[in-house]
């Protein structure tokens, strides 16, 4: 199990235990975490699973590729250097304790 913390735009915090190999998007959707929609199911087609990786985790999460950049570019909320599509972050044991912040809106 990998622990993930989602901090909503209003500051409320949700901690979940996710399976290794799951994505940050899918773990949130399957455990009813508000603020991640993930409507396309991880096909990088909807830009509704936008999150900001907490600064402390930036190095471990990896970088976004060109396709992710393209889709993120159209996200509803402000895109920063810490922005990721959470469907593209796969949970490994290295990410146990990961903290992500959620944008004000996804669409």
């Amino acid at each position: 199990m990998v622990k993930v913390t989602y901090i909503a735009h209003d500051g409320s915090q949700t901690d979940i235990d996710a399976d290794e190999g799951d994505t940050v998007m899918h773990a949130a959707v399957s455990q009813d975490v508000d603020g991640i929609v993930g409507e396309c199911g991880g096909a990088m087609m909807c830009a509704t699973c936008h999150c900001y990786v907490d600064a402390a985790w930036a190095d471990r999460v990896g970088t976004r590729d060109r396709s992710e950049e393209d889709m993120l570019d159209g996200a509803a909320s402000e895109v920063t250097e810490r922005s990721r599509l959470s469907c593209q972050i796969k949970l490994t044991s290295d990410l146990d304790g990961l903290v992500v912040h959620l944008p004000e809106e996804q669409f």
């Binding site: 959707v29 009813d32 409507e39 396309c40 199911g41 991880g42 096909a43 087609m45 909807c46 830009a47 509704t48 396709s67 393209d70 889709m71 570019d73 159209g74 996200a75 509803a76 996804q106 669409f107």
Partner: protein, 391 residues
């Protein structure tokens, strides 16, 4: 393992008139059912429909023998998979993202909505389906696509003729003759506008595709625009009419929506309640299993989003329009790589612009006789009239 049970009692006419009692029965008794009249295996629970949409390798969109091909004179991205689909879809996406819609285009949509709502006569009973929902959906789409030179009537006619051709599973010549004429007209307009959209890029879908660094072939650019015309008018039109019906027949909810400006929620609930696109087909690429039944390679399964959206395991009183639900994980826009490309535009235009504008202008708008409203459709569904008194 056995094949799913075979039904030979359900008719297409029943599904077109009112499929919901049938779907309710199927969810309880036979969520995987081969329906002879539709020549498809119906999947009616949310779990099954999502499972299929999220596994595009196993459940392919690719159908080389679809009547869509002659109807659109192209093998379109709707019926492609993988990289090929992705490339054609991504070519158009920059015109359709939330950011583009909200920031760059918001003011234009607002202006168009004000113009069309402003034309409606106060104090009269008007069919909003024909006088607002259809024409405004057509006007907004024409702008998004970069073909505002097309009239509302042309856009709506082309859309319907493409749909009729694409649904011509009997392969009769007449519907293709009609869609051919629509294709001729569209091709002529696209050809005429091409240089202009290159010379003056405007962020519209046509312009974005034409001016891309590595553009897709012109035939596919045109096919993409046609897909958007065929699939981008009925849905916002029907969504708007459905939501208006839902709100006007539930005045308590309407009052609460107005007080909280919960138009976005009213929108989501409308498309959940009666999904404008009710069902989609997928071709099975390998022998597999769904819901305990054998699903052979070559079978065509039909995900019934309309039914998934009322699944008792997700929704209490799912047959009713109830805006203030705790959760509303509907599948009206589909899932997976073919997730509706127009979802953000629909949410923005219908949910955030048109609904508040209309109720602001006509605060005492009412539906004098809800029983006069007729609903139709199996693949696409919504009211086909909406006589509303505007005050």
């Amino acid at each position: 393992m056995a094949l799913a049970p075979l039904d030979d009692t359900i008719t297409l006419a029943q599904l077109t008139t009112d499929p919901y009692p049938i779907y309710r029965r199927l969810r309880a008794q036979s969520p995987v059912l081969r329906v002879a009249s539709a020549q498809r295996t119906f999947l009616t629970t949310a779990e099954l429909t999502k499972q299929v949409k999220d596994a595009p390798d196993l459940f392919s969109s690719n159908d080389p023998n679809t009547p869509m091909k002659p109807a659109f004179r192209a093998h379109t991205l709707m019926r492609k998979d993988g990289e090929e689909h992705m490339r054609e879809r991504k070519a158009m996406m920059p015109a359709l993202t939330p950011k583009k819609i909200n920031t760059d285009w918001g003011p234009l949509y607002q202006e168009l909505a004000e113009e069309y709502v402003g034309r409606l006569p106060r104090g009269e009973t008007v069919d909003l389906f024909t006088d607002l929902c259809g024409p405004l959906a057509a006007r907004i789409l024409a702008n998004v696509l970069g073909i505002p030179e097309a009239s509302d009537a042309e856009m709506q006619r082309w859309s319907q003729h493409l749909i009729d051709g694409a649904g011509n599973f009997g392969w009769k010549p007449e519907p293709f003759a009609i869609s051919d004429k629509a294709n001729d007209e569209m091709d002529a307009l696209f050809a005429e506008l091409r240089e202009k959209r290159i010379a003056q890029p405007d962020g519209s879908a046509y312009s974005v595709m034409l001016t891309a660094e590595d553009p897709i072939p012109m035939s596919q650019i045109w096919a993409n625009i046609k897909i958007a015309i065929g699939g981008g008018i009925n849905e916002p039109r029907d969504a708007l009419a459905t939501i208006l019906y839902g709100l006007l027949t539930n005045p308590d909810q309407l009052a609460q929506v107005r007080a909280q400006e919960a138009w976005g929620k009213a929108f989501e609930e409308g498309v959940r309640w009666v999904a404008p696109i009710q069902a989609s087909s997928r071709l099975v690429t390998e022998d597999t299993e769904l819901g305990g039944f054998e699903i052979p390679k070559g079978d065509t399964v039909m995900t019934i989003q309309a039914s998934a959206n009322r699944d008792e395991s997700l929704y209490e009183n799912g047959e009713d329009y109830i805006v203030f639900r705790d959760k509303n994980p509907h599948q009206a826009f589909g899932n997976g790589p073919h997730h509706c490309a127009g979802a953000h535009i629909a949410r923005r235009t219908v949910g955030k612009i048109i609904l508040p504008l209309l109720f602001d202008r006509f605060p005492d708008m009412r539906l004098p006789d809800p029983s006069q409203v007729l609903w139709r459709g199996f693949g696409f569904r919504g009211p086909i009239n909406l006589p509303v008194t505007l005050n």
